[in-house]
């Protein structure tokens, strides 16, 4: 008998904690809960509840897909840290996906611009085309001025700032990247820290 696959999805780069479990290609459970700077408090209890509902433990998982940002720095670190630890402790592989792709996957079809506010008129954005349940990337993830980014888009688009990711759409796409060394996995922040930026500017 082949071992069935049990894939855990984790993303914490947006205002919501997102967890999903896909068993043998079927979405068996998910939770997408908006929080107020408290992903660190809620994520493991939510994961514990989800696994208990499915009569599973962390040791039953076969692989992990983690949103690696861009998005909230503190937020994305929580999801990535947890994914690293689960992957390492159980010796299971991790694949990464853009947190913006996860956000965009919540849309049914059309040209989709996922949007995570980064203050000062900037946002983390990208652009995807979704047709017949197939999702293709049009623009890379960027941290950009919102109006400047919009000016680059020639066709009608929809901005998606919240929504429950469609993990099956993600699994069907080519937007997943295997992680060769779990210990070396870090979030995709899309920009250096302010301190590093200032240092580089001064140099």
């Amino acid at each position: 008998m082949t071992k069935s696959s049990k894939t855990l999805f984790v993303d914490t780069a947006t205002k919501s904690v997102f967890l999903a479990l896909v068993v043998d290609g079927v979405l068996s459970d998910q939770v997408c809960r908006e929080g107020v700077n408290n992903h660190s408090v809620t994520i493991l209890p939510l994961l514990d509840d989800l696994l208990k509902r499915q009569n599973l433990t962390l040791k039953d998982l076969t692989d992990i897909v983690v949103g690696i940002g861009p998005g909230s720095y503190t937020g994305v670190r929580i999801g990535v840290s947890i994914a690293k630890m689960i992957g390492y402790l159980n010796g299971i592989p991790i694949r990464t996906v853009s947190s913006l792709a996860l956000l965009a996957s919540s849309a049914l079809s059309g040209t989709v611009v996922p949007f995570i506010d980064a203050r000062r008129e900037n946002a983390f954005m990208a652009c995807f085309e979704i047709q017949d349940g197939v999702m293709v990337r049009k623009f890379d993830d960027v941290l950009a001025n919102v109006e400047a980014f919009k000016a680059r888009l020639s066709q009608p688009y929809r901005i998606v700032a919240a929504g429950t990711p469609d993990v099956l759409k993600i699994l069907r796409s080519d937007l997943l990247t295997p992680v060769p060394d779990i210990h070396a996995l870090v979030p995709n922040y899309l920009q250096v820290t302010e301190a590093e930026h200032n240092k580089q500017a001064a140099a």
């Binding site: 209890p45 720095y73 670190r77 840290s81 947890i82 630890m85 689960i86 390492y88 870090v186 820290t193």
Partner: protein
Amino acid sequence: MYVLGVESSCDETSVAVVKDGREVLSNVVLSQIDIHQAYGGVVPEIASREHVKGVSMVFDQAIRQAGLRYEDIGLVAVTNGPGLIGSLLIGVNAAKVVAMNYGIPLLGVHHIAGHIYANNLERPIEFPCLALVVSGGHTELDLMNGHFDFVKLGETQDDAVGEAYDKVGRVLELPYPGGPVVDKLSALGKDVYHFPRPMVDSPDYNFSFSGLKSHVINLHHNMTQRNETIVKEDFCRSFQDAVTDVLCQKTKRAAKEYGVKQVIVAGGVAANRGLRAKMAQTITDVPVYFPAMRYCTDNAAMIAAAGYFKYMKTGVADDLYLNGDSRLALN
């Protein structure tokens, strides 16, 4: 009982395995000091990024060096505050995953309690005990009447001792962190400036180092303006004598007032040789203990030791809702 300790409150990612609160089987410390050196101090966002990068590797090294499996661990003890919140959250969440993965009890431990219990790794603490905690983030006197029974007698009203050291080091253009360098240069200098001893005679057990720090900085500035020769060794010695006089005098008075059996010094500044020497000269009627040098700075062995005694005393574990708290109180 084997306790897995986890510490990530500032710029060190550390995981340790300690048996029965005393015997250190492993204590892996991934220090970021070389990275922050370029900025003259800890940059919180960089610290958080480094913690994520190193976290799982440090766990792996700690459990391997201990020669154990996670199934052998009886308690996961993690620093849940105080400290840099972004840093704390990495250790807390990583610890939660280990606890959840193996069904091990989880316990949040106060960072200062950890520093105090670093002393227990050398010899059992005897009560009542007076603890002077001196580090880059803390300066306080705590009375302990038993395990995990802390009464704060006083604390700094402004800068922590280590913070003042680092700022004086920066003014003197010494490499970061300035504390150990100031200590080293002090040994070669004389107290020629007789800086004020802030609050040395105040009836309470509080401290203040911000005024002293400004005094040192102002004098340095004025002398530079007048093109006077600055003897760094003398500056360091004068500053260090002022600081250690206050720390030693207040500690001595508290030790007498509360009739303690021993005095323990904890935290990064406990590594300061000038403080070690003066404390031993000042307090002669009860023993004064310092942790081994390697347990003075942030490490997870001290958190594991403190976690063990906290768990033995209360028997109560935390649940998966445990959070980091940058301003967590000791009691």
